[in-house]
Structure formats: C-alpha cells, structure tokens
Symmetry: C2
C-alpha cells in the first residue's frame, strides 16, 4: 500500500444556509482544491458522501453534480451512502483508491442540504437509515433508537443523565471557538438538564443538529504531499471500516457498538498505535449518550467509565483526550453526508496548527470516528502530522 | 495490481415481483455465494449498487441491510449510487478493492424495488438522476432527455426510427431465451413502429422497463478463483470508469457520449484489446437510440453507422457483435441499481458456457457497459474466460 496524505481541505459554515447543493459543493470543493494548491486537471477521481438528497432535494447522482459544478469533467466521481457515515465511507474509499495505486490525487467530499424541509420530512428522511419495513414504518425514529440505547446503558451501569448533559455543555462551549459552528453557546448544566424531553431519557440538548453544509478534502500520495511543501504533511496512518446489522433488534448488545470496535481495531493495527497514543478525536456524537459509548469503544476509557471521564474533564479541551473540540455533531452541526469529511477538516486543521483560537497545544495524532444509522456502518481514520 | 476474477454469480427473475428489498437481496446474494462455493465467513467486504430506494422504499443504508440479510456481520459494505450506473460503479469499486490488495474475496451486488409504486412516483424518482434544480423541476424526464438526443442524432445523421424499432424487436426476441427476462416477446416491426408515442420520436417500445430485481457476484483474486476449480475462470481484464456533466445542457455534444468514450478507452487499454476483439456485449440500452449510440461510442461501428448495423443484423445473436443477448434493459428489464451486475451475470454465464438455449457459440471475451443519468457516469468492464 502506498502512503496517503491530505493535501487540501475546505468546508462551508455549518447551519441553516441559503445555499443549495450546487453552491455548497462549489464553495467547499473550491476551497479544498485551492488549499491544496493544485490545478483542477490534476484531480483524477473523486468520492462524495451524501445521505439523502433523494428525499430532501429530489436529487440523486450527486457524483456527476460535483464533476459539473467544480468543472472536473470525465473523471470518475462516486457517491457513497452509508447513512450518517456516508462521508467517512467516502474517505475510506478515496484512501483505498490512492493507497491501492489507482489514482495519485483524489477529491473527497460530503454534502447535505436539510434545513429547507419541514421537521417531519427531515425526521422521515433520517429514519430511512434504519430498517423501514421492520422499524421506521412502525414509528421508530433515531431519538427513539438512541433513547433505548441510553436506557440500556443506565440499566447496565448507572443513570448518566447528568454526564450526558455535560457532554452537551462542553461541545456547545467548544463550538464558541469554531467560526464554522452552527450553535456556539455557553450553556449551564441546569439549562441542559431542564430542557424539554425528546425521547426519554434524551432531551433537547442531547440531540445533534439539523444542518446544511459541505466539506471537501484532497488526498494524494505522501510523496506528492511532500513535494508540494505547502502545509505540514498530514498522513493517514490508519484506516478502518466495519459494518453491523441495519436494525437495532439484530444487535447482540446495545452498549458496545461492534462496528466501532472492529473499525478502530483495524485503524489502530495499521497505525501501530493504541488508544492512549491518540492526542485528540472527532467522534460521532449524534446523541450525547453516543459520545460516551464511543469514547469507551475506541478504548479511551474502560466500558462503563466514559461518563465519569466527562465529568472529570478528561474529554474537555484541556483534558487527556480532547473530544470534539470542533463542537462535534452536537454544536458544530451534523450535515449528514458531510460530517465524516468535516471531522477530517477539523483534525487536519489541528494537526497543521491552523486552528487559531481553538488550537490544541498537543496535536500530532488525531482520530476521526464516523458511524451511520444505529451503528450499522463505522469508519475510523487516524492521521499524523509530520 | 492483482488479477481479479468472478467466482460466483446469482440473480433473481426480473419483473413485477412480490418480493421486497430484503427478499431480493436474500435470493440473489445467496445464489451468488452458493455458486462461488465458499463459506460466508470468507467474504471480507461488499459493495451494493442501489439507485433510489430512498424514494421508492423509504430505505437508505442498504449496505447494512445486505450485511444483516445475508448474515455478513461486521464486514464493510458500501452502497454506491450513480443513477442507473450504480451497479457498474459498485463493480468497479469491488474490482479495485481486490486488485488493490485490500481484500481477497468481495461480494458485489445491486438491487432495486420499483413496481409497487405508481408511475408518477417512479418517473419522479428516476428524474432525480438528472439535475433537479435546472432540469427535473422544470418538467424534464428521461424519455424527454433521450428524445432530444434521438432528434439530434436524426439531425446529424438521418432518421433512424425504423432501426430503433429493430433494436426493440431484437431485444424482446433475445429475451425469449432468457428465463430471468421480464418481457420476452416476439414482436413484428410494424407493431413497434405503430406503438403510442412517449416523447417524440420515442414510442412505447423504445423505452426500457420498470423492474424489480437483484443481481450479485463474488469477486476474488484469480489465484483463489483457480484454486476453487469449480467454474471456468472468468477474469476481469479491463475496468474503466468515467464521468460527465450531470445536466444534458452541460454536454458539448449529444450523439457521442464522452463518459462511454473515456471509460471504454481505459478498459480496452488495460485489456490490451480493441473493439473488434470483443465477442459480445451487454450495453446500457435505456432507450433504443442509446444502444445505437453506445455501439458507436464503444467502437463497434463508425459514428453514424450503428443504426445500419442493427438493420444488417450485425448486433443480433448471430451477428458479428451480438449485443444484449440477455434481452438488455429493454426486455430483460432494468432494475436500476442491479442492472450493472445483471449485465455481469449475463457475460459470466455466457463465458462459462452456461447460458443454455441462449448460449453464444463464440464467447471468450465479453464486455459490460453501464451508464447513469444522461450519461453522467459510465463503467465499462471486459471479461475473459480462460
């Protein structure tokens, strides 16, 4: 396998935006290509994560749209869809395309346009990431699914409602340092705890956001990255991808998500690293309980101890393993198909030392964790700045 | 690159079926795995082409569904979507995953469930493969798009309405020998020519079908294929993938489809072959005019001569380059996401000599051509039986 690095990154602001799909792709795609400092003709292929523009924008075939909007005619451009992991899977495929020697320079991106639709339509679109026949058509929604997971966590360990609220407080605070974030906010714990219930035990601030946004990156062989000599070289040293059942009822357990375990094991092994070697991580906090479970499944904390770690400040900006310093899905926003690439954007920005006010003092090895649906798909990547 | 071969194939009957997505995947997936003669645990990853179950079945995240339905837990399973080329792109990615050394045995499939929806909903779903903002929302449909292409062809060359009808006659006749075909029919030219207009100059029999169906295959290194020693080894000797604009108005010409030119050039070069070396081909005849144009773009005939070739019987079962002996999209059926893999199914079946009544006497090198939308994506594969 050839060594692969990230040579360019770009993203839009996240939130309720006036831009449609074309404009989001144009802005983030051009930013990434400009950041790489390459000609468009140097790009040989592309991958684009998009979850459900079919429902939300009557638009499929987003690959060809990216080619047309960015003026990249005749190159192969592949849309990947794996629910909320659509972007992470695009990154994995783009990585493989370069590592496997098929292409030297590849564009990878993600896009989602959501806020123009009613909550009902968005909720129904999101539910298409679970099993329609056996789950969604019976009325299950994602807050409902993750509420079951939270209840099971409470049952197996203890009630961590307060710790979940603390995840929200930290993430909204982190977002105050991120100019691209959708909901920067200095919240106190009481406000979060007293917010309206969505699906018990999840209340308003336990849920991630509905967001418009796009993020793109350019990958190349590390040899090319070094020859460009424009930014600190950021190499993808570990790449993992795993699946699990589509349904929640098919899973053998709910408080350990097997796809995270398997994908992160692959990435750690490839990188020759263990969890304690990671300086910081962007993880898939679709709900606050999810961040706690993921922090355990990635090996940052023992099973059942992730909630304590939050209260002890271990996942805060100045903790031993800062998680979601971008604000995460919770506060930066969750433009579904773009989320996996926006995580990459944050990690590369930190590794380059370009994160301005939110720059972490120690940022040499970062991890992205992106999953889809009820953890039916998971992609994990580990990046190192040289 | 490692050499890659097809070790297993399976498909459902094509047509208006009672089965839903789960059942279609189960049937075709298990057939392919059984045909390969391997244990399910030997499969390391998978790719699944699906166009628009989002609209048609409220179902995204089909990758995780495939894993669950077939009992392939925790392996990465990637949905690709590129309109009608979703299956061909899945094949391309699966090929790369094995050729690049990431996995030794990979499942690849495609599925679409369409006939349970009204014509209005299916037409609107199909239109999501063109540019919604600038085309579909203004009322353009795919019969409308390809009608423009046909008119342009008539303008640049001559009126080939009769030759288009002959494509339909041949394909429906070919389908009579295919037990999986949706619309086997012995039609006479007058019936086809006198059918109701859909979008001038395209009439009823110029259009491909609305179809439920699934097709799967198992790819492996050629080394593994030979060690299994179960079927004639069928190697993928050329793989090409190219894009073009999403919109029809963005194309520089309408009677030569650049994505076909570029993808087939890649495949021919990799295989070290030229068009005249191909024994037979399954091509993307979404409309009869399209088959004529594709037969020129693939280099089987000179530009403007593809229609003559049809009348002269050159593309018939006993012609110099039999096209769509399966019946094609026109008569076997067009289960969108599955089409690219069903083409592979036919080519492998012929190369193995397993095509029963429709077996071609000369079948050593076959080609699949699958495109999406208004030719915004194209995948071409060349296979050889050893």
């Amino acid at each position: 396998m050839r060594s692969v690095s990230v040579i360019g990154i770009g993203e839009t602001k996240m939130g309720k935006l006036d831009s449609g799909l074309h404009e989001l792709i144009l802005e983030a795609g051009n930013k990434a290509i400009e950041d790489a400092g390459i000609e468009k003709t140097a790009i040989e292929a592309g991958y684009i994560g998009n979850f459900d523009s079919a429902h939300l924008c009557n638009q499929n075939h987003i690959g060809a749209m990216v080619s047309e909007v960015l003026g990249l005619k005749n190159i192969p451009m592949i849309r990947t869809e794996a629910a909320c992991a659509s972007g992470g899977v695009a990154l994995r495929q783009a990585y493989m395309a370069v590592a496997g020697g098929f292409y030297d320079i590849v564009l990878v991106g993600g896009v989602e346009k959501m806020t123009h639709q009613s909550t009902d339509i968005v909720t129904s679109a999101l539910a298409s990431a679970m099993d329609y026949e056996k789950e969604a058509s019976l009325g299950l929604t994602f807050p409902g699914s993750f509420a079951m997971i939270a209840h099971r966590y409470f049952h197996e360990f203890r009630n961590v409602k307060k710790e979940m609220a603390m995840v929200a407080v930290q993430s909204h605070k982190n977002a105050m340092l991120n100019p691209d974030a959708q909901m920067p906010r200095d919240l106190d714990l009481e406000t979060v705890l007293n917010a309206d219930l969505v699906a018990s035990p999840l209340s308003l601030y336990d849920c991630s956001l509905i967001t418009d946004g796009a993020a793109f990156a350019v990958l190349a062989t590390t040899e090319i990255a070094q020859s460009l000599n424009k930014h600190r070289t950021v190499e993808i040293i570990g790449s993992g991808h795993a699946g699990d059942t589509l349904s929640i009822f098919g899973k053998k357990q709910l408080t350990t998500l097997d796809a995270t375990i398997s994908a992160s094991k692959q990435a750690y092994e490839q990188a020759g690293l263990k969890a304690s070697d990671i300086d910081f991580a962007e993880v898939h906090d679709c709900f606050t309980i999810t961040q706690i479970i993921i922090s355990e499944d990635l090996g940052f904390f023992e099973k059942g101890k992730g909630a304590d770690a939050v209260l002890e400040g271990k996942t805060a900006r100045d903790g031993i393993i800062p998680i979601n310093v971008s604000g995460g899905l919770k506060a930066k926003g969750h433009p579904i198909g773009a989320t996996g690439i926006s995580q990459l954007y944050e990690v590369v920005t930190q590794l380059r030392g370009d994160a301005d006010k939110r720059q972490l003092p120690k940022a040499n090895i970062g991890l992205t964790h992106n999953f889809g649906g009820t953890a039916g798909t998971c992609a994990v990547h580990i990046l190192k700045g040289w």
